[in-house]
Amino acid sequence: MSALHTKTLTELAGLLQSREVTAVQAVGACLDRIEATEPAVRALITVMAGEAMARAETLDAEGPDPSKPLWGVPVVLKDLLTTRGVRTTCGSKILKDFVPFYDATAVARLREAGAVLIGKANMDEFAMGSSTENSAYFRTANPWDAERVPGGSSGGSGASVAAGQCFAALGTDTGGSIRLPASFCGIVGVKPTYGRVSRYGLIAYGSSLDQIGPMTRSVEDAARVLQVIAGHDPRDSTSVNAPVPDYLAGLGRDSLDGVTIGLPREYWGGGIDPEVEAACRAAVARAEALGARTVPLSLSLTDYAIATYYIIAMAEASSNLSRFDGVRFGHRSQGAEELIDMYTASRTEGFGDEVQRRIIMGTYVLSSGYYDAYYNKAAKVRRLLRQDFDAALGQCDFIAGPVCPTTAFRVGAKADPIQMYLMDIFTISLNLAGLPGMSLPVGLGTDSGMPVGLQLMGRPFEEADMLSVAACLERNLDPMPLPAL
């Protein structure tokens, strides 16, 4: 059997169910792969070797269970998802010893579906970043080129999947944090409609923007994981009480007849690297060859999206991070004799620069005198952006464009915060609108040799159709290679 780690989740799940591979073998293969690749990639903050093996042994003793769709499958979790009994750091020093006593709902669902949790992935601190360079622990390398970033903030999850350390990872996406690393690492990443997946246990950055989603080596893999984690959760008031369709049913389509794809001029105009545009246009051409119709459109408010996103995300984050005060969990500064000093020292010592910058900015835009000009104004523009999308999605079934103007950039290349924020230009609007989107790898850039991701965006709760179109396109593009690690 060829190296297990090169298989897709779908293939592995089948082999596990038929007992051609045991859970212990699957976990062992991943742990071996982790040991072999981590020195170069450094995707994981915590490797759950002991727990994973013990779980695999228990599963093997019980035997495969066809009612558990992820039985025996090793999965990595972004370190922003609370995992009962396992250190959960959010990529921050302020939580370096935090061990939650409760699972995130998505994590609990993975466990119930028989998955084996194998590691906690590195990330930009508190999900604030686009390159995983803001982790307080170490930086993760792009498995395709160690001098380049894996994207962020779910960079560890993306790298882990691309490096074959696991068969799926959960990431989170607030402004592109699943789609961007998926694009940079050449894998599939899905951001569901806001409210599709429970946020309980997702340590909050931008509460009205965050969603958990799968990062995998194929579209079908992503559909299988989404099937498990999607659905209403009574613990999350913002989770939507709507039935979860069968995400696998439409994956076998072989034609895109009747599908209309919109191409917003703002996402295909100047400022995109030629290699990215070429790869994405080639993919669109393939879609047309499969029967899809393309229409030009305009998302005229695109220029305002970054400001809108950052005001809202930073405002929410500044409030969400107030609970990190050293009282009930997390880092507490020693030597502070008085309470306010203790708070200030703990937070100043525990949070990195980018986090502090965003907390201060968020506090500012909410403060009296500025609330109307910034926060409330941004909320109004948000509605206009959503209306923009609704109008566009009235003219087509899906909107397509590059995930990012560039492929993975070099470490340290975006030192100026605003330069970094501009990496999100094509991804953030979707979070503001709350719509579903995904990144599909469409080839390697001819200049950098690095993966290029095409983004699909759809109407609320139409993930099944979106995955179906993506699967068809995926099957009809040149197979995406794996990085030579």
Binding site: S207, S237, T308, S318, G330, I360, I418
Partner: protein, 94 residues
């Protein structure tokens, strides 16, 4: 739209952060640039637009008034930097 290091310090205090002078100056410059971008929003006429604070469209999520205890006190206290099995303990409040 510029912001001074003193203003940054004031806002930082509200957020219980204490920055050294060099960082205050660095942040003041960076935050000023960010605010400059944000001021662009003033170009849009939003007088008759309802704010959208969240993409959620449903309303009124309620839970029955029935007690449920899922975790013991030792779990709740377990991550505290200082606790005595009963209370969270913090430095005195002046």
């Amino acid at each position: 739209m510029k912001i001074s290091p003193q203003e940054v310090a004031k806002v930082a205090r509200l957020a219980r952060l204490d920055l050294p002078q060099d960082k205050l100056e660095l942040f003041a410059g960076q935050l000023g640039d960010i605010l400059g971008h944000m001021d662009k929003l003033a170009e849009l006429d939003t007088d008759s637009v309802e704010p959208m604070y969240s993409p959620v469209e449903h309303t009124t999520v309620l839970r029955p008034d029935e007690p449920r205890k899922e975790h013991g006190r030792d779990e709740v206290l377990g991550n505290a930097p200082r606790q005595d099995g009963q209370f969270f303990i913090v430095p005195r409040i002046v």
